[in-house]
Symmetry: D2
Subunit: 141 residues, 4 copies
Amino acid sequence: MSLKMTLPELTAFVAAEFPQVKDDFAIDAVSEDALILRLKVGDRHLRPGGTVSGPALFGLADVAVYLMVLARIGPQALAVTTNCSIDFMRKPAAGVDVLATCRLLKLGRTLAVGDVLLRSDCHDAPVARASLTYSIPPLRA
Amino acid sequence: MSLKMTLPELTAFVAAEFPQVKDDFAIDAVSEDALILRLKVGDRHLRPGGTVSGPALFGLADVAVYLMVLARIGPQALAVTTNCSIDFMRKPAAGVDVLATCRLLKLGRTLAVGDVLLRSDCHDAPVARASLTYSIPPLRA
Amino acid sequence: MSLKMTLPELTAFVAAEFPQVKDDFAIDAVSEDALILRLKVGDRHLRPGGTVSGPALFGLADVAVYLMVLARIGPQALAVTTNCSIDFMRKPAAGVDVLATCRLLKLGRTLAVGDVLLRSDCHDAPVARASLTYSIPPLRA
Amino acid sequence: MSLKMTLPELTAFVAAEFPQVKDDFAIDAVSEDALILRLKVGDRHLRPGGTVSGPALFGLADVAVYLMVLARIGPQALAVTTNCSIDFMRKPAAGVDVLATCRLLKLGRTLAVGDVLLRSDCHDAPVARASLTYSIPPLRA
């Protein structure tokens, strides 16, 4: 068991494949079964009152598990989200980034499952939790 | 049982309270237990390849249930999403809007539950399904 | 598109393969995209106070989608539940069966998705809603 | 922050209030933000082939979070499950108990959220993960 993509390789992959969102995220850490992804909060992520929007939090959780899966299987596969369950538990703190800590719970042949805790930077209490399933298509020869 | 907000009132509420997203959505229909919300798909909703992004679909489902709840309880209350479960089932069709058909399954004193089917405009097979819970804060006197 | 198993064939399949639970359930109806399953409520399904237990409701939703999938793909495949999201919305009525109305939303090569409304017999308001994903293993030659 | 019920008090509560299921479970450990609950696997929990059934795993996760909440708020309140999302990831090992490790992620005035990892005794890889929301009714004076 080992990583197929390093942190710089993952960062370069996001920049190349997802130019629309590359400025939203920074990968803070990656290991064989965990990844920390940072949402670099800007005005476009905010709802009235200055709180980070639900879709922005969803997207953060989604990309965190996606990158965790890629780190383990490599960039050749096109994984797609099939399910997400997310609980919004607290209001994000104003004016700080949100960090997603992802655990990879299962990496099967066709399905991967990860869960995520989202926290405002420098805060302990989780803003949200999410679990996601990715479908991994078979490799083509 | 009756509607506390009409379709034009809901549309005006979104324009006033959520100026960031008001151009994303149009309410196609509302009744006592159902609401149809349209995501007016633009470039900002797309992923590479031209498919509507997961966060955009999540946001559509979220706003659909939110407006369905407001239609029934009126604009005075500040409902917040506490849980969402979403299944992504098919790729949205390219170049067309996505429609969310929301059913209100429960409207309690403190919790409301709705489910949503998302379809590409003029397509039958659902792109995604979602169920959401909203927490309704007590009214202040 | 057509049914691979009729209502009597599904009933016989449950009796043969799941002798432990065959007395719990009756299939009231099946069509190409819907199935109604009845939980024949007995003491073993009840919690103190006489309400149907959460695990009994979960099992009802799970078996409803399972049988809906089998009705479409036939008994040869061994489908397994990979995900369930369930919302408990109202207390079941005392002393009556619970009915699950299942819709098949997706039947793909490897994943099937269905959703379910659970109602107490002769009651309109749903007791619970659930959505489930089944993984369908590849056929062996 | 402290525990309102100790491990022996929780065990006695289950025996008194849930006589139907008290023989199914043993509380292995409890602290302010975590609880370990053991499903003492018997024939009644098994499906054909000897694997622990889905409803038994659901019930284990449900009771684990319920007891975790009670440990913190005390036995006076009647908490009810409003939502559960569960991912079944691996077949439980045959012939051994299943352990649920619960984390309390939020304990609000009206809602509590916990998540759970289920593992076969003496095995590392999780059999399932679940997250549950409990609604906590207001105290009566």
